[in-house]
Symmetry: C2
Subunit: 245 residues, 2 copies
């Protein structure tokens, strides 16, 4: 039995997210269908974490077990030949039998893109959040300081989620602007449901003058989702990468 | 009478190029339709140069005459509200009555994108030429030297074109690589039909070891299109900008 780890890039626009769903195209279904054609059987995919409808990935990871002896380079080439053009396998490697793309992860990095101009570039349709008014970068960076570190992020979790332990550590939260594009990059040991999109929403509120650093501190302390900013749209979110030991 | 100059960005994937065509969506038709709704009449658009089906633009320019007294900022906002999301007006300005987006142009800059990896990034589908084998950047840059300057570029013009004077000056031709993306940027006083795509095709032949610098010099001297490399696909081409005095 071999354990194979895939690194996957996708434009999530046309999909109902990662997870298998009846009657809807999903990323997992496309990959399983392609694997079935190549190795004769659709394996279970162990993903680092599901992504929602419309969310993209630059470096999603998923592993699966197979008895197939197919050469790893040929497997990758065959997958890319069969998959639709909005999904690409950027890497395929054999890993230890007890490796799991989810539980072996040490930390994850997400990117959130904001196109900040009166018009939206045609090249970022469905690929960034369009904010027309000017955002104050200094204020966004100041509020980001309040989010960094270990906190109980209950106020940054979609209401209705039922996770018990809502303490997470944000190792870094960087905001850079290049021409009209604002790129938020956040690395943490784990993220609650919608947490990155709520962070992006909070930073946009900050950049719009609606929140300052102490407001953000108070929101975190409140542990109350209703006190915070709105959730940023899915189309701006990219799973950038997953790090393993 | 006012003369208004638009700067236009578009993803050309879904269009049959710039120029009006019966029964086909084109960039000019979309802009004229939107202008008709805003100023009550579809004006003639004077474009810096037509783009072909599938070709993109970051800074296309077109002017038109109107009697409308509409505020220029409002005109731009209304256009962006009405145009499909793959066309954006990035600038609108009033110019001298005798300004013409084509004949007033001093030079133009095109960009050509090549995605150089075994797989194609989902984010560059229809937006770059996918070349799987590794391209030799040094050899591409060496061959670019042969193209720079004033030459009779008849060998770099689509066969069937009927332009009399085929002498053009290429002021700069730069090739840079960032991760898997090769970006060719070329500025010239004018370009023959398909000239930039033939330059891109020639540079890819060079990077693949099929041509060296003296071969390229010989191709130019031959003035014979059949001696050269194949024309690169439209999807990698972007009209980056047009410069006026």
């Amino acid at each position: 039995m071999r354990n194979i780890l895939l690194t996957i890039m996708y434009d999530g626009t046309e999909y109902f997210g990662w997870q298998l769903q009846p009657d809807h195209p999903t990323i997992a279904r496309e990959i399983m269908k392609a694997l079935e054609r190549i190795i004769g059987k659709a394996p279970t995919l162990y993903v680092s974490g599901r992504t929602d409808a419309g969310v993209h990935a630059l470096g999603q990871r998923a592993n699966f077990y197979t008895d197939s002896s197919i050469d790893i380079f040929k497997l990758k080439e065959a997958l890319n030949a069969m998959l639709p053009s909005d999904i690409a396998i950027t890497q395929a490697e054999e890993v230890d039998i007890d490796f799991n793309a989810r539980s072996s992860a040490v930390n994850k990095t997400y990117m959130y893109l904001i196109y900040n101009m009166r018009y939206l570039s045609p090249f970022f349709v469905n690929r960034a959040w369009h904010i027309k008014h000017n955002l104050d970068m200094e204020r966004m960076r100041d509020c980001a300081e309040a989010i960094k570190g270990e906190h109980d992020f209950k106020a940054f979790m979609a209401s209705g989620s039922i996770v018990q332990n809502t303490v997470r550590t944000v190792y870094s939260l960087d905001i850079e602007k290049q021409e009209n594009l604002i790129r938020i990059t956040v690395t943490g040991n784990g993220f609650l449901y919608n947490m990155v999109r709520i962070i992006a929403g909070t930073l946009v509120y900050a950049g719009s003058g609606k929140l300052n650093r102490s407001d953000v501190e108070q929101i975190i302390l409140s542990k109350d989702r209703t006190k915070g900013a709105k959730t940023a749209p899915a189309c701006g979110l990219y799973l950038k990468g997953v790090n393993y030991k």
